[in-house]
């Protein structure tokens, strides 16, 4: 306790973020299995992005995207509840992305089917509020490559479901997220 108690949320978050990067870069071995690696990554991701008052800036999103992809796979294919790690990863990307992160995100393909399936999955009606909120704020970062494409990236049924879930997530936000006044307040429109 003497070692842990003096740590502030900021320090915990920063150290956890650094540890997350170390864990993700580490090679799995006999002594350090892939499973243990994912356990450690979940723990450090939790420490880094669970706090509301402090979020470490994401410098290089590749590891977080790898983490997110893996947990999307476990949730959508393995039927496991991975809401917490997915939520933390989405919070990192949605709320703590710098211009460097956004540039780096351009190298990532968000239209890859398993990733797209994961995003649709977290928008579902029964998902926790914070998870849907993080997904809602993450979507603009990939919107260009989802919506501005010559060909649709998913089947019409999937698009319809996502639009319904997205609309319900917007309705679920208890307070307006927009900082400026809506257009209707400027005139009688």
């Amino acid at each position: 306790m003497e070692l842990v108690a003096p740590l502030s949320e900021k320090e915990t978050a920063q150290k956890s973020y650094q540890l997350f990067n170390v864990v993700m870069q580490a090679q799995a071995s006999l002594a350090y299995s892939q499973e243990k690696k994912w356990d450690a990554s979940r723990l450090t991701m939790y420490g880094a992005y669970k706090w509301d008052r402090f979020l470490s800036w994401v410098e290089e999103p590749r590891d977080i995207l790898g983490f997110l992809n893996h947990h999307f796979y476990l949730a959508t294919r393995g039927g496991q509840n991975q809401d917490e790690p997915i939520q933390n990863a989405l919070r990192a990307l949605a709320y703590a992305s710098s211009s460097t992160t956004i540039e780096a995100l351009k190298l990532f393909d968000p239209t890859e089917p398993s990733f797209a399936r994961g995003i649709c999955y977290v928008f579902q009606d029964d998902k926790p509020f914070q998870l849907r909120k993080a997904a809602l704020f993450f979507l603009p970062l990939i919107a260009d490559r989802w919506f501005n494409t010559p060909h649709p990236i998913m089947e019409p049924d999937q698009m319809r479901s996502l639009c319904v879930d997205w609309a319900s997530a917007v309705d679920g936000m208890s307070t307006p997220t927009m900082s400026r006044r809506p257009l209707s307040q400027f005139s009688s429109v």
């Binding site: 919107a143 260009d144 919506f147 501005n148 494409t149 060909h151 649709p152 019409p156 698009m159 319809r160 996502l162 639009c163 319904v164 609309a167 917007v170 927009m178 900082s179 400026r180 006044r181 809506p182 257009l183 209707s184 400027f186 005139s187 429109v189």
Partner: protein, 125 residues
Amino acid sequence: MINSSHWRAHIVVEKWKLLEYFTSVPDDSQPLKRCIDNLELMEAIKKVANPAAMVFGLAILWLKYKELIPEVREQLETVTKEVAQDRRTDLDMYLSVMDSELRKAEDALTQFFFLLQHLYPTTAR
């Protein structure tokens, strides 16, 4: 999403009202720029079952009028006239209904006074 012909059809009808928050979009937003330059968007918005879509769509374009390409300006002016014409028809119909209802009410009142005068010839005026 509204700029994409693939996605537009799937937008939940009530959510077109979110266009009212367009002022929250940064002025240099590329998706916004693509939307206001999109010649097919106006025709698509006309078909949306939510009338708010057209009202907000037109309002956004008029607020961005100086930035519009000539083709969109021309389209905007034409569509605005069409909408105004439709509204004129709605207003005429509304006034005509009001007029006829007013006439019915006046007739009913006249009949009421007539009946009252017949029943109470000394008090009713």
